[in-house]
Amino acid sequence: MKKQDKYLVTYCEILLTSTITTILVVAFLIVEKEMLLGAIIGLGILGFFIAKGRGIPHKIDQVYREHPCVFYLTIVSPVIIAIVFCRHEHFALFMIASVAIYATACLGLTLQLGYTGLTNFAGAAFLGVGGYTVAVLTNQSIPNVLVILLGGLMAAIIGSLLILPVLRTRGHYAALVTIAFALLFKTFLEINDTLGGPQGLKIASFKFFGLDFNEPLLGSSFYLSYVIAALLLMLVVFIITRLIEKSWLGLHLDAVRLDETVASCFGINIAAWKILAFTLGNFFIGLAGGLYAQMLGHIAPTNFTFADSLILISIVILGGIGNPLGVIPASFLIIVLPEKLQFIQEYRFLLFSILVILVLVYRPEGLLKRGLRSFYRTWGRERKLEN
């Protein structure tokens, strides 16, 4: 009886946390008044510390492991409710979709950098490959879903041009290879006019079984369809990334990252795993790039500069390297925060950079530190349960 009471309290706490978080996030997205924004941020920080004081993050973790349905209830349903609530808020939806797309790309980077230890400073370039592929192909008569897949595929293929140097180099040396690629990719697009040159390309709207994504869906916003598509894409990529982590594949990738000598002494084909992670990661980034291009309706080389690659890397680091879950709040922070700082106009980047520095000084490991691998939900608990 007592135990059940405790569970009830825990559930109520989690429900409350999730409700408050949802309300705050939605309010943060919609509200434009500076004072209100400040109040929301203040409330959020306050709420975070209260929750931490009550040990709620830990409880959530525990409950989620034991009862995944609670997880879906407290994460998925607020998202759906929030979207339904925001269905007329074009801009909020646009931002949600952008966050989801960036998070997807960063999941690709997590696979490369977080799991396998491959530094990829050319994230934006692969985003661009996906985008340009989509831009060129959408205007042909190819089914649009296929086009986005082809965008991912193309990113993976272009990425394989770099495989030889990426395989041979490590650490900063590998960073240089990708930095070089990022720089030359953008410059090449800009100089060479075959792909629209500096002006870029326009992209016809995304069509899915006769559903035009640029038309309002069910009388709501133009961007609702994109939000749904982006969230679905993120979900699928997230699940795949997570499943990879919690399987023999993830274990192999970790082994490659942590000690190549040991890995080779235990029969692990380092090159093969690196190729897998690099290619699959680029594929995910390419998919994200494809959808992003579709949503924007126009892409140009200046979207895919080295600075943009750094933004992607920043998200991965800020989220906590190797933790796919951290990528989502980190994208939210890095993508939405500068936008919310529009009211301070030319000072916004200064403040933004200072804020990120502060976050890092207070959370040196990133927002969510990567934990030990658990292969399945009850991992590490079985023994206790049995006893």
Binding site: W248, L249, H252, D254, A255, F266, I268, R373, W379
Partner: protein
């Protein structure tokens, strides 16, 4: 006569001007426990590194069950059944004990994407099997470790880490096991227990051939059938412990005259 497992002929390894290993010959039969001893810097670890393919050999050959593996990659050598431990521990600090152990059996893990991502229930069954297998081998060396199987390696004491390394090398059921100073840092008592466990393993898998690098002479005396003494990369003596320990060269170079 036991069937030959590992055969090393004329093995030479040089680093610049330094000949770390020169013209080394030896044989390891099934079930042998061969001691490899010698002063510091005499080339023992280098010999392991050469056999496992980490160092390039300047000349000589290595045969495993009469199959040439001289120029195979470390991956293939492992797949052919040679595993090892490292003199300086090389465990993945950020991973759990289980992760560290199971990576030792990488060649038997199913790494197809389809299996790992889409056949989760099969994977789960597989993982549970591996868990049992890991617990079994831990139980052998130190049953207390089983409770730590989900813990990060960093929480263990040095000596337990050493045990984990040995377990990692054993978990794939190799035919040759190379142990590089496994008892370093252990007390006499712990060393004794460890060697007892090792002997038991030998009894359970009678065909396993082991090469043991060790500086504890009583260990060598107790567990090895035969030993090889290296000095400056050359073999200066070979035979059972009694022969070797009375050899004048060995006493001068290694044991100390008294």
């Amino acid at each position: 006569m036991k069937t030959s497992l590992l055969q090393v002929e004329g093995l030479t390894v040089r680093f610049g001007g330094l000949t770390a290993l020169s013209n080394l010959d030896f044989k390891l039969g099934e079930g042998d426990l061969l001691g490899l001893i010698g002063p510091n810097g005499s080339g023992k670890t280098t010999c392991f590194n050469a056999i496992t393919g980490l160092y390039k050999k300047n000349s000589g050959s290595v045969l495993l069950r009469n199959k040439e593996i001289t120029h195979s990659s470390p991956q293939n050598i492992y797949r052919n059944g040679i595993t090892r431990t490292f003199q300086r521990l090389r465990l993945a600090i950020g991973l759990s004990v289980f992760d560290n152990l199971v990576i030792g059996d990488a060649m038997h893990l199913n790494t197809s994407i389809y299996f790992n991502v889409f056949r989760r229930s099969n994977l789960r069954a597989d993982i549970k099997n591996r868990l049992e297998q890991a617990e079994e081998i831990l139980a052998f060396f130190n049953p207390k470790l089983i409770d730590n199987i989900y813990q990060p390696i960093g929480k263990l004491s040095m000596i337990d880490r050493r045990r984990i390394e040995v377990c990692r090398a054993l978990i794939s059921k190799p035919s040759v096991l190379l142990l590089d100073e496994p008892s370093a840092g252990m007390t006499h008592e712990e060393t004794r227990d460890f060697m007892t466990d090792l002997m038991e393993i030998k009894i359970k898998t009678p065909k396993l051939g082991v090469i043991l690098i060790e500086h504890e002479m009583n260990v060598i005396e107790r567990v090895t059938d035969r030993c090889i003494v290296l000095s400056y990369g050359k073999k200066i003596a070979e035979g059972d412990y009694r022969d070797v320990s009375t050899n004048k060269d060995v006493r001068a170079a290694y044991l100390g005259e008294d």
